[in-house]
């Protein structure tokens, strides 16, 4: 191992820039976004800041950086608003797919305007009947002449109805099972492509989560990524990055909750002294910090592995670890932080109750904790049969 645990000057500058944006422009609007949804103009400002799509080629407007830089951006944004972070990240997730597996004409058509902030993407796998059991999805993408016909639906999709183009997965040939699985691009406005209402969630309330409905939507062959049947390989490759991204977001939530608690217990006095003087508080603060550091290190190692070799077996295992560990830590820190701040923590005067609600989602979205553990275990126990 060539270990260098320091961030480069460039990475430190990136963190500083995103933090300044998050504190000046995002922080004052956190409650507003929770109530009224995200203002996507603020997402566009992120693009103007030059911090979106960094890992994509500069030829298309990216930054030619590694995945690490994306982690930094997500940590800093999630420290202020995880819903905004997830929605913003999703707006160029489609570009990642197109860049990894699309052809040049598709890259020019979608990635370039996406990284200018002119169009936004959404990444859609989940269905009402296919969550953890991804491959039981019902959406079909059937060839018909020069076109393909899409039928089915997707559920719990971030940026639904806001995004301009949607990367979806469906079956071209169910009999071929995972080899009949296809990746396709749908665009808002296509005939037969409609959206469901915004879901009311416990946390992550700012981001628009909704359903997609495909009723005989006809797409040109050019909207298929790669070839029909390539979808399984695409999805498997992409999911790791998604897991590490979620880990980064969870770590951001943990950071925010921990900082809030640390500041509060130094100010709040009971029994004649600051809460920070009491041993039980001290023990918990130590635990928070240690667990968060460990969680961050897991995610940083994943980023480092992803930059060296995205197909690395260790990355596949570690990504699952990083994701579920970070989710557990976030829930624990958010809970403990809220508890430390007592009634104030429980009230909307502080943001802890929001961190608490947001943290809960981390163990569910982008692969539940249970699934992550199964994936990891199956790789550790020799059997490559992954139950999805």
């Amino acid at each position: 191992m060539n270990l260098d645990f320091s961030f480069t000057e460039e990475q430190q500058t990136l963190r500083k820039i995103v933090r300044e944006f998050a504190e000046k422009k995002l922080a004052p609007r956190v409650r507003e976004f929770e109530e009224n949804g995200i203002d996507y103009d603020l997402v566009r400002e992120l693009y103007k800041l030059g911090v979106m799509g960094l890992s994509l080629p500069s030829k298309y407007g990216g930054g030619d950086t590694g995945f690490f830089e994306s982690i930094i951006v997500m940590e800093e944004l999630a420290r202020i608003c995880p819903a905004f972070t997830m929605a913003a990240n999703d707006t160029w997730a489609g570009a990642v797919v197109v860049n990894a597996f699309g052809k040049v004409s598709q890259k020019k058509k979608y990635i370039i305007p996406n990284l200018k902030g002119e169009i936004f993407s959404s990444f859609a796998t989940t269905e009402a009947g296919a969550g953890s059991d991804t491959f039981s999805m019902q959406t079909t993408i059937i060839p018909d002449g020069d076109e393909f016909v899409v039928n089915g639906s997707k559920a719990w999709i971030t940026n639904a109805s806001v995004a301009d183009y949607y990367i979806i997965w469906g079956y071209t040939d169910k009999s071929k099972r995972t080899r009949g699985f296809t990746t396709a691009i749908l665009e808002k406005g296509m005939d037969g492509f409609t959206f469901g209402k915004k879901e009311e969630l416990c946390g992550f309330r700012a981001s628009f989560t909704g359903s997609l409905y495909f009723d005989n939507v006809r797409i040109p062959a050019d909207n298929i990524i790669g070839s029909p049947g390539d979808g399984f390989m695409h999805l498997m490759t992409l999911l790791d990055a998604g897991r590490v991204a979620m880990a980064a977001i969870a770590n951001g939530i943990s950071q925010a909750a921990m900082e809030t608690a640390i500041n509060y217990v130094q100010q709040r006095e009971q029994f004649g002294r600051p809460l920070a003087d009491f041993q039980s508080i001290r023990m918990t603060i130590a635990d928070m910090w240690t667990e968060l550091e460990a969680s961050k290190l897991l995610s940083y190692k994943c980023a480092y592995l992803a930059d060296k070799n995205p197909m690395d077996e260790e990355l596949i295992r570690l990504a699952s670890s990083a994701k579920y560990y970070a989710s557990d830590v976030a829930m624990k820190i958010a809970t403990d932080a809220l508890q430390m701040c007592g009634s104030m923590g429980y009230s909307k005067e502080m943001l802890l109750e929001k961190y608490f609600r947001d943290a809960k989602f981390m163990a569910i979205g982008e692969g539940t904790t249970q699934i992550q553990k199964l994936i990891l275990a199956s790789r550790l126990l020799g059997s490559k049969k992954v139950i999805l």
Binding site: T13, I17, K24, K48, G50
Partner: protein, 263 residues
Amino acid sequence: MKIIVCIKQVPESTEVKLDPKTYTLDRGSAKGIINPFDVNAIEEAIRITEKLENVETIALSMGPPTAEDALKEALTYGLDAAYLLSDKAFAGADTLATAYTLAKAVEKIGNCDLILCGKQAIDGDTAQVGPGLAENLNITSVTNVKKIDFLDETTLRVESELEDGYKVIELKLPALITVTKEINIPRIPNFKTARLALKKQIIKWTAQDLDNVDVSRIGVDGSPTNVIKVETPQITKDTIFLKGTPSEVAIDLIEKLKERHII
């Protein structure tokens, strides 16, 4: 056109952080930042490059070696180059000596059309270096500017704040302008610009590097004002806390205001 932006690195501690118990400077906040008004000057320089053609922008600072961090940060906004004047011989300079030293650097950089400065530094709070620099260079100076417009390549129309309004002034380049916070809201640096900036070298000059320097006018020797003593004022007040229900507190307060003939 060549624009020089003068910046100063100041301790962040003047911005907010005092130890809440002892009311003294919290050392934890000894981080250096770019003087906030100078950030407005940097932003204005960048805006000028966005409005006009062929504009070169340069950051200049006199300070200890750590001031290099401030210049690095200044470059991330998109300035073209940065110069650091650092030398033990410059230390202890008051505003007269500082203005002289900066003037020597400006002369050496050469062909400067416009100098932008923040109206004052938040540690010294004197607002003297800008006009002093202009005087050394024998150029026009206007202070407290909240708007700059170019009528043509060499003529500016600016709005300079007054206590109860502002005046509109027309001036010719070369000139020095000090700006207020009102002039603009500085951008957050674009990361792509910042990355390029990190690759730039900051040019460092000592007293030796400047031409025709009269050493009796730099540093301590060049400073007619002397700090004899520095005290940290302790504020002690016997605060009277009013207690009770909002209604009781309100009555109590009004009594006290009556006692003092305020109402």
